[in-house]
């Protein structure tokens, strides 16, 4: 069956129940869905590298079990922003921040918060797939636990569950002892996602996770992000506006360290409120 005929192969309507067809869509819809609560939030978050102020008083809610995309030109501060969310920014010499970052309403920059424990709750996937080259696929998935000096109760179950969640299990289940770097680029990136998921994070940060992947591998990772977005709170930084439009529920546009606009992805890509957003997403920036 070709693509068009499969698109047209709609289930047939039961005309015996024709009265039910007269129930309008509006009546059939449930009452308006309550707005999603914020899993994380930043309040007046500013960040510096030395004297350079990279982020300027960013206040932004990160909605629970939703995908939020950050877009903006290079140097606008979007990667810095997500690195502030799991305290990776502060590990760079000369880097500092002000303002508050809240996780479930708790400030993550208090003394009581252990940054390592925080990073288990707020996991991260980087631009380039970075599996540990000397570790097997299986051990790569468990690497986060081992680095934390912990051992899961049922490691095999955890490996399978994480790889399944990362949509990689079927491709690697028979070669779990092979090196992680023996996989293709797209598979390696899904392995890194499995490694992050193995720690059972609440929030997943993704810094341009598809920028080193080909279109098919990108499509697989995007599909994965879409599925994970139902269970996890995800923040993704991307240079590809089409990607942001495809995978996210909310999109925030950052420009020169300012948060210009944050809206539902549907609204931002069809009716942006700010002229700078309009100019950027339509390619009118010089």
């Amino acid at each position: 069956m070709n693509a068009l005929s499969s698109t047209l192969a709609m289930p047939r309507l039961d005309l015996h129940d024709s009265a039910s067809l007269l129930v309008s869509d509006q009546e059939a819809q449930s009452p308006a869905r309550a707005s999603q609560s914020a899993k994380m939030a930043t309040e007046n978050l500013s960040a510096w590298f030395g004297k350079n102020k990279i982020l300027k008083e960013i206040s932004l809610p990160i909605r629970e079990k939703r995908v939020t995309a950050l877009i903006g030109p290079s140097g606008c501060g979007k990667s810095t922003y997500i690195r502030c969310l799991n305290r990776l920014h502060e590990v760079i010499p000369g880097a500092r921040m002000e303002g508050r970052v809240l996780l479930d309403g708790q400030d993550v920059y208090t003394r009581a918060m252990d940054p390592v424990a925080l990073r288990r709750r707020v996991g991260m996937v980087f631009q380039r797939p970075n599996p540990f080259p000397t570790l097997s696929i299986r051990d790569n998935v468990l690497a986060g636990w081992k680095l934390a000096g912990m051992r899961p109760e049922r490691p095999d179950d955890l490996v399978e569950r994480s790889l399944r969640q990362a949509a990689l299990w079927d491709e690697v289940k028979d070669v779990l002892n092979r090196s992680g770097t023996s996989l293709s680029g797209g598979q390696q990136q899904r392995l890194c996602i499995a490694r992050a998921l193995a720690l059972e994070p609440e929030v997943l940060l993704m810094d341009e996770p598809c920028s080193a992947l080909d279109p098919i591998a990108t499509a697989k990772v995007e599909e994965l992000i879409h599925q994970l977005g139902e269970k996890y709170t995800i923040v993704i930084v991307t240079h590809s506006m089409q990607q942001a439009a495809r995978v996210s529920h909310y999109t925030a546009f950052l420009y020169l360290g300012d948060l210009v606009e944050c809206n539902t992805t549907d609204a931002l890509f069809t009716r942006p409120a700010d002229r700078r957003t309009e100019d950027y997403i339509t390619g009118r920036f010089g």
Binding site: T270, E278, G283, R284
Partner: protein
């Protein structure tokens, strides 16, 4: 508005706009000549109007293809996306207006052997209003003028009222005088075509409002106030 960084894209959008304006100008001409053919009982002009429709059909297909190419290659968003999707819909309404001008011309030919026994000045008033509506809708598109587009929409009720009145006037005449039936039915049909042209001009104007403001103002009675 700031120009696109990609000059090629900018040129494509400019070209699309030119094609729509060309199609709009041709459709406007068709409406004008079909009405003149009716008013002056000019069969030659009616025939030329019918022939002219091929130009409109060709432009519709050309603009559709052009829009699909831009969508596939540029993946536009925001105002560019609204412009391209609006263009796709605009040409459908323009093409329908062209068809209605053809229908008017065909009725002119049908009733040409039947000399007028009575004038119905309302039909010319109606023709004037809908021609202005089409022109203003296209002007509003060119100038991205949502106020002008809304003024087009407001006039449609007037057209509907004239049509309803005219329909009854002609009906009464036909009931009294059976020899007036053929011409009367032709006039009723032409009035209906003009009324439909008014509806298509209203559609064009609603699209201009969507294009300029990003607000869909169609079917408020179905969508409720929150949709807007």
């Amino acid at each position: 508005m700031t120009l696109h960084t990609d000059k090629g894209f900018e040129d494509e959008l400019a070209k699309l706009r030119e094609k729509i304006l060309l199609m709009g100008a041709k459709v406007e001409t068709m409406v004008a000549t079909s009405v003149r053919a009716f008013h002056e009982q000019d069969n030659a002009l009616a025939n030329r109007t019918i022939e002219f429709d091929h130009d409109i059909n060709r432009l519709e297909v050309e603009i559709d293809g052009f829009c699909l190419n831009i969508l596939a290659r540029r993946q536009p968003v925001a105002s560019d996306l609204r412009f391209i999707t609006t263009a796709l819909k605009l040409v459908t309404d323009l093409e329908r207006i062209g068809d209605l001008a053809v229908n008017i011309s065909e009725r002119v030919l049908d009733i040409s052997s039947d000399p007028p026994r009575r004038d119905w000045p309302d039909i010319l008033t109606m023709a004037d209003i809908v021609q202005n509506m089409v022109r203003d809708a296209l002007d509003a598109f060119v100038a991205a003028d949502s106020a002008k587009a809304k003024w087009v929409i407001e006039r449609d009720r007037g057209v509907d009222a004239i049509y309803s009145q005219l329909f009854h006037q002609v009906l009464l005449v036909m009931m009294e005088d059976r020899t007036a039936i053929q011409r009367g039915m032709g006039v009723q049909a032409i009035a209906k075509y003009l009324e439909r042209i008014g509806d298509h001009a209203t559609n064009l104007a609603e699209m201009v409002v969507f294009l300029t403001q990003g607000t869909d103002i169609r079917h408020p009675e179905s969508l409720g106030p929150e949709a807007h």
